[in-house]
């Protein structure tokens, strides 16, 4: 997916108005050049003769020259929060972190197209300063971010790292993509998400098919937890496969319930990033 011709961009809009002065493509709350009419103002209050509305001026009872005032669409800051803990290093065909890098590349291209600034924060046990990219409008930054993700070595991590990285985003208005596999206890995640109340958060859940779907044949599987190195041997058999699938479905339902309680909808990536699905996600969110 790293080749440019295979790179798919997606369309996204903020479903809410964003404050901000920089012109862009998201619905904003500031006045300026835009399609969305707000009201008429006196030419003396708003000396912009290009927007002079003759018909409205004639109709005006006060005899003022009226100028159309429109709302300007704004660009927002898009922030990536990428989990690079050891569990993201798992993957049967491709590591989940590589899939996340694909997503980052696609997002960078999409963000550039609509003129949004893109920044990245990564975390494992704590914030990874080496992977931090401040929000910029630079075009070529997407592949740099993606490559730094692909080349980083995942280390054991947890929700503490997320809490650490979130400190930089508190109170900012932004579109935040939280990319992780969410193998955390959810009670602390709620408190962390509350810090991002001004931002629109998209939880991107990256799961590998190998972790959601048990091996199809009976086998002995000696497993080691990526984060804690705890070992457990499983004797794969039909009963265990059912339990496995049930556990995955239960976790998914748990995540859905957790996010919908905060008016969020998780976006699931299974094995490979699908840009069209992401476009659909935003169409549904904005409609």
């Amino acid at each position: 997916m790293s080749a440019a011709d295979e790179l798919h961009e997606f369309h996204y809009r903020l479903p809410q108005r964003a404050a901000g002065q920089r012109p862009g493509s998201h619905p904003g709350s500031s006045l300026g050049a835009g399609q969305e009419f707000v009201s008429h103002m006196s030419l003396y209050d708003r000396p912009d003769p290009r927007r002079l509305d003759l018909r409205a001026s004639v109709r005006s009872t006060t005899g003022d020259w009226l100028v159309r005032v429109n709302r300007q669409r704004v660009g927002v800051t898009v922030q990536l929060l990428v989990d690079v803990s050891a569990s993201m290093g798992f993957g049967a065909r491709r590591r989940k972190i590589d899939v996340a890098a694909d997503f980052v590349e696609s997002l960078a291209r999409s963000a550039f197209r609509v003129g949004d600034a893109l920044g990245m924060l990564a975390f494992d046990q704590r914030e990874r300063a080496d992977l931090c990219v401040p929000a910029t409008l630079s075009r070529g930054l997407g592949s740099v971010m993606a490559d730094s993700l692909r080349q980083c070595t995942p280390a054991p991590g947890g929700i503490e790292g997320l809490e650490d990285a979130l400190q930089q985003l508190i109170g900012r208005e932004a579109l935040v993509f939280l990319v992780s596999d969410f193998h955390w206890p959810l009670d602390r995640l709620g408190a962390a998400l509350d810090l991002l109340s001004h931002a629109f958060v998209v939880p991107v859940v990256v799961w590998d098919p190998a972790e959601t779907e048990p091996p199809p044949y009976d086998a002995i599987a000696p497993l080691r937890d990526a984060e804690s190195s705890v070992r457990r041997t499983l004797f794969m058999r039909p009963k265990l496969r059912t339990q496995w699938r049930d556990a995955v479905a239960a976790r998914r339902a748990e995540l859905d319930a957790f996010f919908s309680a905060r008016d969020l909808r998780p976006f699931f990536i299974h094995g490979a990033f699908d840009a069209e699905a992401m476009s659909d996600y935003f169409f549904e969110a904005t409609s």
Binding site: S87, D208, A219, I220, M236
Partner: protein, 360 residues
């Protein structure tokens, strides 16, 4: 090197025993990475399998190392008690033994044609004797037998043993080839007596002399035989296989020397008759045996049936408990450990074939 009842042929190999702990090292390579175990079910069968392969690997390595050290139970001697006697079979291997015996119905045959009948219908004495002896050995599993052939000199074939198969093989070997030239009963008897002298007295002893001819023994030989038999308390049984025209050891031959003294005609006659008999080798031997201070029995056999009766008679004579020591050679147990290790390795192969080695 000995530990209790086990000794090791190459004890230095035990230095490798710590290698058996290698499978207990927990290596990352043995496991598959998984993002989170929290959502996987707990599996008792899996835990058992995870424990079992380590145990099998440890067992396999330990088994190989112990087998390399060559464990075994050391050589021991076991005291066994048997019922029966120690019987030394002293068998004539001379050419005369190849002669035929009279057929069983010889009494009804015309004496003039007896010679021809014997030649055509009789069986060789040695073959009959061997058959019967082999049956005799077979019927008496509790006895210990030794086998010695003799002609001009003694030939020790089987020393005293309770393993009948060896004795049987020795008896069979007596049938190979033709007989040898000479018959020296004196040397044979002394040699047979000598085999007893170094043995502890553990039960009744018999020398079973199987021959068809006698011998004139000189005085030193007679003395040695007499003293030897007496010192070792050996009973002497003589299976006399009588050929056609061979002298019969009847009452006349067994008679004691005439007490008749003086120069009377009758007395001289009796003495002459006695000494005339004495010149016959068989009679001379028989009379010498009779004069021995130990138990002596004569079994005279004209035909195979007589011989069978005689052998059965010997069998009836002796039935006393007998103590003897048997050497049990060192038993090597490394094969057992190797097979244990091989079994463990086979089970490990099964485990490996069941193993999930990659997620793809």
């Amino acid at each position: 090197m000995t530990f209790g009842a086990i000794d090791f042929a190459q004890p230095w190999a035990l230095l490798l025993l710590p290698l058996a702990a290698l499978p207990l090292l927990r290596r990352r390579r043995d496991t598959l990475l998984f993002p989170t175990l929290d959502w996987l079910p707990r599996d008792r069968a899996g835990r058992i399998a995870g424990f079992a392969w380590r145990a099998l690997a440890v067992l396999a390595l330990a088994g190989i190392v112990i087998a390399l050290a060559g464990p075994g139970s050391p050589e021991t001697t076991v005291t066994r008690t048997g019922r029966g006697a120690e019987i030394m079979i002293l068998m004539d291997r001379s050419r005369s033994m190849d002669a035929k015996m009279k057929p069983s119905d010889w009494r009804t045959i015309d004496p003039h044609s007896l010679l021809y009948q014997v030649d055509s219908r009789g069986e060789p004495k040695s073959a009959v004797a061997r058959d019967l002896l082999s049956k005799f050995v077979e019927q008496r599993p509790d006895d210990r037998f030794a086998l010695m052939f003799f002609s001009a000199g003694p030939m020790n074939v089987v020393p005293f043993t309770q393993h009948d198969a060896v004795v049987q093989a020795g008896i069979t070997a007596g049938g190979l080839g033709r007989g040898l030239s000479d018959t020296n009963v004196g040397r044979a008897l002394t040699a047979a007596i000598d085999t007893f002298t170094e043995r502890a007295y553990t039960g009744s002893r018999i020398i079973l002399l199987v021959t068809d001819g006698g011998a004139h023994l000189d005085e030193p030989t007679r003395k040695r035989i007499r003293e030897g038999l007496q010192a070792n308390r050996i009973a002497l049984h003589w299976l006399y296989l009588r050929t056609l025209n061979a002298p019969e050891l009847d009452a006349e031959a067994s008679a004691p020397p005439p007490a008749a003294e003086g120069d009377g005609m009758d007395a001289i006659e009796a003495r002459n008759a006695y000494y005339a008999q004495e010149s016959i080798a068989e009679v001379s031997l028989h009379r010498f045996f009779q004069s021995l201070p130990v138990t002596y029995r004569l079994y005279q056999a004209d035909s195979p049936e007589d011989l069978a009766k005689a052998v059965a008679e010997v069998g009836r004579q002796q039935n006393f408990p007998l103590d003897f020591e048997e050497r049990v050679p060192r038993q090597d147990h490394s094969r057992l450990f190797f097979s244990l290790a091989a079994l463990c390795c086979a089970l490990l192969l099964v485990y490996r074939s069941l193993l999930l080695r990659s997620w793809l």
